[in-house]
């Protein structure tokens, strides 16, 4: 039988073939999509009990397991949200097929990026994820969507090319020690021999990998594709781009960082990560103030949070790395919840301008309060995981790099204030009139298809911060030790 990690990859890919073949009439594809995602979640949960270690090209360890579980969960809730909103996207037959199939191709590819031990396979996985997400972003075919997809394609195409160059350099550095063959690109093998590798080539490799995968992770100044992609693609795409793609790319950077970091003579990766992270945090914090489009606003907030996590990994050490991991997981959960709520609101109000969406809490209490809590969570308010991670990150930063606290606190405060302003505008005050898009939430249950995922994510994000089961906390700690 196929090993479990590969099932996690090939189940969605087989599902993609099925979805491409199914006649796109009625609601069948949307429900098949939910079924495949539910199956993937079961496989991901089964993986939690899988023994750790390398198995061919894949590896299961404490670093990737939590991400696999959260990604599969977000995949399922996104598929559920998608089923209720896809009618209002008004796809024709071909586009509906392409959209559903690309979604599952993307899910399989990001799973492969997470489980791969071989840096070459990881590169191929992130490339496939790029192709699938470009297809999803451009699927509407409107000029704005085409532009967003084109920008995404060209920027990430260059990024992914640079990452391949970095991967080749990584092997070149290790070649005199590991010889030829597959182990030359294995993360475990490279890490073990990193100390004997040529530090110069390793440093060069890291620079290319950081810039290459950093483009995909949305780090400033390589971020400009992200707001467009999230604003112009179909609604559910925002949740998986922000929640899964950015995490997978950042994890690739972390794998590279831990190889380079194992060689004391090579470049220290920390300052680079802190630099990129601070730039992302500060630019995004100020950019948040100027957004009028709700989806772009939260895309910028993703840049801010990825920046924060990057700073955490740049500081390094068990405490900061743990904060970074919790931050990434918490951000994925809360941000996808916010995108579900904002997506539902844009379909209900018929506009994605913040000015046109107002008073959600009084007109649609379950949705509005869910959105309000989610935005508060993104702003770093308790009781969510982001509060815990930001607190421990700032404390650790203050202890280790006191100068870092000022810019970090500035970024956090400016961003939080902008988000709270958006919270007021979107959720509180007098409700704006509803102008539902045709076909929005036509399934029995109405907006429950959005509110249930929102509240589930919020509950999990709160649990991750304050009531995680001890076994899961131990797993996260072990993951942080690996870095």
């Amino acid at each position: 039988m196929m090993p479990l990690p590969w099932i996690l990859v090939f189940l969605p890919w087989a599902g993609a073939l099925l979805l491409a073949a199914l006649p796109p009439r009625g609601r069948l594809p949307a429900f098949v999509n939910i079924g495949i995602s539910a199956g993937s979640l079961l496989v991901a949960l089964a993986l939690l009990g899988h023994e750790h270690g390398v198995q061919g090209w894949t590896r299961i360890d404490a670093l990737n397991l939590p991400f696999i579980a959260v990604a599969a969960l977000i995949g399922l809730t996104t598929a559920i949200f998608s089923a209720a909103t896809v009618e209002a996207e008004t796809f024709d037959g071909l586009r509906a097929r392409a959209y559903h199939a690309a979604f599952q191709v993307f899910m399989g590819a990001q799973a492969l990026a997470l489980v791969s031990d071989n840096m070459g396979v990881m590169w191929v996985a992130i490339e496939i994820a790029t192709l699938a997400s470009v297809l999803m972003v451009g699927v509407h075919g409107t000029p704005a969507a085409v532009e967003a997809a084109w920008k995404f394609f060209i920027l990430c195409g260059v990024g992914i090319a640079l990452a391949l160059f970095g991967t080749i350099l990584l092997y070149l550095a290790a070649q005199p020690v590991v010889g030829s063959g597959d182990p030359g690109l294995s993360w475990a093998a490279l890490r073990a021999v990193a100390e004997q590798c040529d530090p110069g080539v390793l440093s060069l490799a890291f620079v290319f990998l950081l810039v290459g995968y950093g483009t995909k992770a949305g780090l400033v100044p390589l971020h400009s594709w992200l707001p467009d992609a999230e604003a112009e693609g179909p609604l559910p795409i925002c949740a998986v781009l922000s929640g899964l793609l950015l995490n997978a790319a950042l994890l690739a950077i972390l794998r590279a960082q831990s190889i380079i970091g194992a060689n004391p003579a090579a470049l220290a990766p920390g300052p680079f990560l802190i630099g990129f992270g601070l730039a992302s945090l500060l630019l995004a914090a100020f950019a948040l103030w100027r957004r009028r489009d709700a989806r772009r606003l939260f895309a910028w907030s993703s840049i801010e949070h990825i920046g924060l996590a990057t700073i955490a990994f740049g500081i390094g050490g068990a405490v900061a790395s743990l904060a970074g991991i919790i931050h990434l997981l918490g951000h994925a959960l809360v941000k996808s919840a916010v995108f579900f709520a904002v997506g539902a609101a844009t379909q209900i109000k018929g506009s994605r301008q913040i000015a046109d969406i107002g008073g959600l809490a009084s007109s649609h209490p379950a949705l509005g309060w869910g959105l309000a809590l989610g935005i508060a969570g993104l702003a770093g308010m308790p009781p969510f995981a982001l509060f815990v991670s930001e607190l421990s990150l700032v404390a650790e930063g203050a202890a280790r790099f006191p100068w870092l606290v000022l810019p970090m606190a500035l970024g956090l405060l400016v961003a939080a204030a902008a988000l709270i302003r958006a919270l007021h505008a979107l959720c509180l005050g007098a409700p704006t009139p509803d102008q539902p898009v045709r076909g929005a939430f036509a399934l029995p249950g109405g907006t429950l298809w959005a509110t249930a995922p929102v509240w589930l994510h919020l509950a999990l994000a709160a649990a991750l911060g304050f009531a995680a089961p001890p076994a899961f906390t131990a797993l996260l700690r072990a993951g942080a030790e690996l870095l």
């Binding site: 071989n118 070459g120 396979v121 590169w123 191929v124 490339e127 496939i128 790029t130 192709l131 470009v134 451009g138 075919g141 000029p143 704005a144 085409v146 532009e147 997809a149 084109w150 920008k151 394609f153 060209i154 195409g157 260059v158 992914i160 090319a161 640079l162 391949l164 160059f165 991967t167 080749i168 350099l169 092997y171 070149l172 550095a173 070649q175 005199p176 010889g179 030829s180 063959g181 597959d182 182990p183 030359g184 690109l185 040529d198 110069g200 080539v201 440093s203 060069l204 400009s224 707001p227 467009d228 604003a231 112009e232 100027r290 957004r291 009028r292 489009d293 772009r296």
Partner: protein
């Protein structure tokens, strides 16, 4: 393998040829000429891959060579030619910015590649790998320059494609690199997708011209 042996000299020659073609692409004014230069570069790359396959006794590289030849020397140039024909833009001319500035920048970038790679690899790597890597990095950087210097969608994509040629050149020059065939094929799939996207969108005339500056009007509030 060092200077003076045929294995080294021929790899060096082919690699140098690929780099030379990157320069040729930069100073063409007509898009048709850019496409021709790209086709020749693809053929040279295929020859370099085949030569490395023979020198390293790695049969997999012959597959890389065959794929590179089929796609880059034949299929992609042909597709772009047909597209230009349909759009009636055989003679399209573009000059932004000046060619002198572009070429000066290109020479600067090659110098940068030499300054970055040679000192860094002074320790362990073989002489061939060092020179190969310098050339490959130069091709990558020139590809990026071509993407920045041109505003036409087809020439931008060709810049990206020649950047990818540089990657393949780097991969085949590293002796014993695992997954070379797989990685180069995967990279090619990405490039083919980009080409397909251009062809599809141009033919559906979403954009009336090939000028990507038209896309700049479609900005949200970014």
């Amino acid at each position: 393998m060092s200077f003076g042996t045929p294995a080294y000299d021929i790899s060096h020659l082919l690699g140098g040829g690929v780099l030379l073609l990157s320069f040729v692409m930069l100073y063409q004014r007509r898009i048709g000429a850019v496409i021709n230069a790209f086709a020749v570069q693809g053929a040279l790359l295929a020859a370099a891959a085949a030569w490395q396959g023979w020198v390293q006794d790695a049969p997999g590289l012959y597959i890389t060579a065959a794929i590179a030849f089929g796609a880059k020397a034949v299929a992609i140039p042909l597709a772009f030619r047909l597209l230009l024909g349909r759009l009636g833009q055989h003679k399209a001319v573009e000059t932004s910015p000046g060619l002198g500035v572009t070429l000066a920048a290109a020479i600067g970038l090659v110098g940068l590649a030499v300054l970055v790679v040679l000192p860094v690899t002074a320790g362990g790597a073989t002489p061939l790998a060092r020179v190969d890597l310098t050339i490959a990095l130069s091709v990558v950087l020139l590809g990026m320059l071509a993407m920045i210097a041109r505003r036409n969608a087809i020439s931008q994509v060709i810049g990206l494609l020649s950047l990818e040629n540089g990657l393949i050149l780097a991969a085949i020059g590293v002796v014993g690199m695992p997954l070379v065939v797989e990685l180069s094929t995967a990279a090619l799939v990405l490039m083919l997708a980009v080409v397909a996207a251009v062809v599809v969108f141009q033919i559906r005339d979403r954009m009336d011209t090939l000028d990507t500056s038209i896309l700049d009007r479609q900005r949200g509030d970014a």
